[in-house]
Symmetry: C2
Subunit: 243 residues, 2 copies
DNA sequence: AAGTGGTCTAGACCACTAT
DNA sequence: TAGTGGTCTAGACCACTTC
């Protein structure tokens, strides 16, 4: 039941992205907003919507009075940390062709911290989903997801392919993942984790501890993830707040 | 030469933020957009602008057809990683009253990586600015800034107080810092760094390696920063791209 | 002075939620 | 079915850059 004819704004974004990729703008200069509006047959407001979002994505920059330009610097970023939505996608952005291996899929009793984070009752259980993302048999990312058992709408959850968590939640719990609150933690991998990620114990890594919220702002998943620092570096764009 | 009468959108944002802080919305429900527009005497477009930005900041969330609500979860975040602009502010957000100590302020020959990052010529030098941010004599953040000597417009750069880098650049180089491209790296602090941060050698920390760009999208500063993981944790909000 | 992006308005219509 | 947020339009005026 996907209802999704792309909005005009999204079509404009796609159009401009293409022209950027094809190097279709002379000197990296993007035409004036009024010209784009005329050419594409939409209002200037719609054009500005699209440009604002492209600017926020780091693909262009604008200077009042001067013009709008392609941001060559921003194009360097492959995965913008704050816009990651699936690790498969992250690996693809890095030029990999990822595979996923499910290491565990069992129902367990949650630890106190998870109980608190997911607003569980004392006798609630959670589904633990441990997944390893690999590139050509080389482990890159390890994630452990904890999802309250009680939110599942079907009991038959055996799937041949394991989809990304947000898709899993839509299919089996009828929840739409809206955003994650994430904490970034530096760790030295212990024996077990190091073995799973195929590195020496004590290797440094970035770890995420995060909680995912659904469309009603209710916590639906707690995730812990570990990343091979030698294979995957996160980048982000820091801006002035409110800009 | 600050020209800054707050826009209507910003005034609306401030107004709603206040009412959120004062718990002035019953059941966390924010009035309909048309009502806000009437009450505040601005167009609905302006209201929507303000609400969009508040939503992006994680302070509210919206559900089509249902309404707009205060996001209690988002209020928990003290410093949103992607919106950090000065470390003084970060520490203040954490309830600290920070002080800054300048450890070094000298002109040096840059390493090859910095030359490349800042698009320097072979004989260019950079100003190295090493600063320590403390809370009550306890070191929390160490930053090393490298700024091309050639961009300074004045030679007299002795100041009693050391301002944040973006202010320093505005004053002495007439450049407006627009954004940083940052890379997040896990590190074990070596002897020297550990000593400066007042922890044991080998202590784990998050490190940023970043390049700051000005209003013309030219690189103007390279910064390396280290954070006491036991005193300061970075959080961020991850969303679906384009949302 | 001309041209660009930045802000704001007033209004139309659509998609979705609640009841 | 009424009410909410989501998208889009056409146009006005302002702030800034460029020449």
């Amino acid at each position: 039941m996907i209802t999704r004819n792309p909005s005009l704004t999204e079509q404009v974004m796609a159009n401009i992205k293409e022209r950027i990729a094809d190097d279709g703008f002379e000197d990296g200069r993007i035409p004036p907003e009024t010209e784009l509006a005329n050419d594409l047959g939409v209002s200037r407001t719609t054009i500005r919507d699209a440009l604002s979002r492209l600017e926020h994505e780091g693909r262009i920059y604008r200077r009042q009075g001067a013009g709008t330009f392609v941001n060559e610097q921003g194009l360097q970023i492959r995965s913008r940390l704050e816009e990651i939505w699936s690790y498969e996608q992250v690996l693809e952005d890095h030029g990999y062709t990822p595979s996923v291996r499910v290491l565990a899929e069992t129902t367990v009793t949650p630890d106190p911290e998870t109980v608190k984070a997911l607003l569980l009752d004392d006798d609630d259980t959670v589904l633990m989903l441990e997944k390893l993302f690999l590139e050509d048999e080389e482990p890159v990312i390890l994630t452990i997801n904890l999802i309250p058992s009680k939110i599942f709408t079907d009991t038959d959850d055996t799937e041949a392919e394991m989809p990304p968590v947000y898709e899993f939640l839509e299919r089996h719990a009828n929840r739409t993942l809206s955003y994650y609150l994430s904490e970034i933690i530096p760790v030295a991998l212990d024996k077990k984790l190091a073995a799973k990620l195929g590195v020496a114990p004590g290797t440094l890594a970035i770890s995420f501890d995060e909680i995912g919220f659904d469309q009603n702002n209710e916590p639906v998943v707690r995730a812990t993830s570990y990343f091979r620092d030698d294979l995957l570096r996160f980048r982000l764009m820091r801006r002035r707040a409110g800009a």
